[in-house]
């Protein structure tokens, strides 16, 4: 600010005029739908005005602000500062239910951790898609555990703190056991009446096309 004052004093009698010219350039650039050249600015401003000088003052004024004066070809324009580009977006968050494949994979990891991918596939009876595991990793509900001391030293998966937090569990051991699940009717020995164990034992293909559609089921 002080620096600017000095500068204005330097320009002697024209000082107030130049400040006014700066206002004019500012207003024209703000309202114009396109960048404006110096010639055009001079043509629009009162006779004798020096748009080039006013532009320099304006450029300095906007230094470090949320908006900056930029040169576009031969013309000038006011643009929002590049580092604030993220403000020009608005994020809409949408919550969707996890797919059945992901839930089952997650359940197996929770009940059997640390568990390898091969073990998950064995339990589920179908292969586990990369996408499902990635999704759970990304959600921070599972993470890599220690490698198994078995041939190939496969990686294992375990559930995370975030997982426990989301499901309101103190530890994975708090998950209801098989006995409780059975008592709760979630583990039935008998097939549901009416139809055959469809829907209970359907081996769902992780990568199959129907699985994709399941991804977004409610």
């Amino acid at each position: 600010m002080a620096e600017e004052l000095e500068e204005t004093e330097d320009s002697l009698f024209e000082a107030p005029v130049m400040a006014e010219q700066e206002r004019m350039v500012e207003a024209i650039l703000f309202a114009s739908a396109e960048p404006v050249s110096v010639a055009e600015l001079n043509a629009r401003m009162p006779h004798g005005a020096d748009a080039a000088e006013a532009l320099q003052l304006l450029r300095k004024r906007y230094e470090g602000r949320g908006v900056r004066l930029v040169k576009v070809g031969d013309a000038w324009a006011l643009r929002t500062a590049p580092d604030l580009g993220f403000l020009m977006q608005r994020e809409v968050v949408e919550t969707r239910k996890l797919s059945r494949a992901a839930i089952e994979t997650l359940a197996i990891i929770a009940y059997h951790q640390p568990v390898t991918r091969a073990e998950i596939e064995e339990i589920r009876g179908v292969s586990v898609s990369r996408g499902t595991v990635d999704q759970l990793l990304e959600m921070d509900w599972i993470r890599f555990g220690r490698r198994k001391m078995s041939p190939g030293r496969p990686v294992t998966f375990v559930v995370t703190e975030e997982f426990l937090d989301h499901f309101g569990l103190e530890s994975a051991r708090d998950l209801p056991g098989l006995k409780e699940l059975r008592a709760a009717g979630l583990l039935e020995n008998r097939p549901p009446p009416g139809n055959l164990p469809d829907g209970v034992g359907v081996p769902d293909e992780d990568d199959g096309p129907e699985d994709q559609s399941e991804m977004f089921e409610e």
Partner: protein, 263 residues
């Protein structure tokens, strides 16, 4: 009441000439009230001091001359003329005994109020349009930048989903003798037996429908029975103070959760 001065004013040459000039322009008026307001200006007084009686005279005189000149006037001008003639008589004659209804003064006062209000609105309209206006005197940003809307999707699941998912897998491996001993009805006792251990894990609001036994959801008949039994069981549990029930609106999904016990 009539002010003699103002009344004389009407008969003055000036006023008559002005009124005649108006006739030519009768199409330019926006109805009788507008005409009355214009006429009232010939009285050259503040609207609050206007003589309504004189104004009525002016208006009736105007209508009369328009008729002589065979200018066709819209019906509402004539209706106003009739009303003003009535007003005039109310103002000039003493009220008849037992006459209900508003007095001439009250009617005159209201007309004066209407004129003053219309005049005020006209003035405000003019001053509004005289203000600095956007796009004429001041301007908005010429190069607006679009706000891009990005969608972020988060996935969620409940503990019940997880348990059901696990149960689904585990039951696959177990031996399932096929029995025919169950009919197509879920009893409330069965639903209750099923719900009791389950609700221990229902800390969050969960749709009642997710408590239906596996396999009872697809067939409409089974689903009806299971839903009824489960709902009845839920009411039973609520009565026992084990669960809380809520429903957002009529026909919205019914949701339940475990009732948190203090201590």
């Amino acid at each position: 009441m009539a002010e003699p001065g103002a009344f004389d004013n009407v008969t003055s040459v000036d006023a008559r000439r002005a009124a005649e000039a108006l006739i030519v322009d009768v199409d330019g008026f926006e109805g009788p009230l507008d005409l009355l307001l214009t006429l009232s200006r010939t009285q050259k007084v503040d609207l609050r001091k206007i003589s309504v009686l004189a104004l009525a005279e002016q208006y009736l005189g105007f209508i009369e001359r328009a008729t002589t000149l065979r200018i066709e006037l819209a019906a509402d001008y004539l209706v106003m003329a009739a009303w003003l003639a009535y007003l005039k008589s109310r103002l000039l004659l003493p009220p008849e005994p037992g006459d209900e209804g508003p007095s001439g003064e009250e009617l005159a006062a209201h007309l004066a109020f209407q004129l003053e209000r219309l005049e005020a609105m006209r003035e405000q309209a003019a001053s509004l349009m005289a203000r600095d206006q956007k796009g004429r005197d001041f301007f908005a940003r010429g190069i607006p930048e679009d706000v891009t809307r990005t969608r972020r999707i988060t996935y969620t699941a409940t503990l019940l989903d997880l348990m059901q998912g696990y149960a689904r897998i585990r039951t696959r491996d177990e031996f399932r003798p096929f029995t025919m001993d169950r009919d197509r009805v879920l009893t409330m006792e069965q639903a209750l037996d099923r719900m009791r251990p389950l609700i221990a894990f229902a800390g969050d609001w969960t749709d009642l429908s997710s408590y239906l036994p596996e396999g009872w959801g697809s067939d409409p008949g089974l689903r009806r029975s299971a839903t009824a039994a489960t709902f009845a069981a839920t009411l039973e549990l609520a009565k026992a103070g084990d669960v809380e029930i809520r429903q957002g609106e009529t026909f919205a999904p019914i949701q339940i959760r475990r009732k948190r016990k203090d201590g």
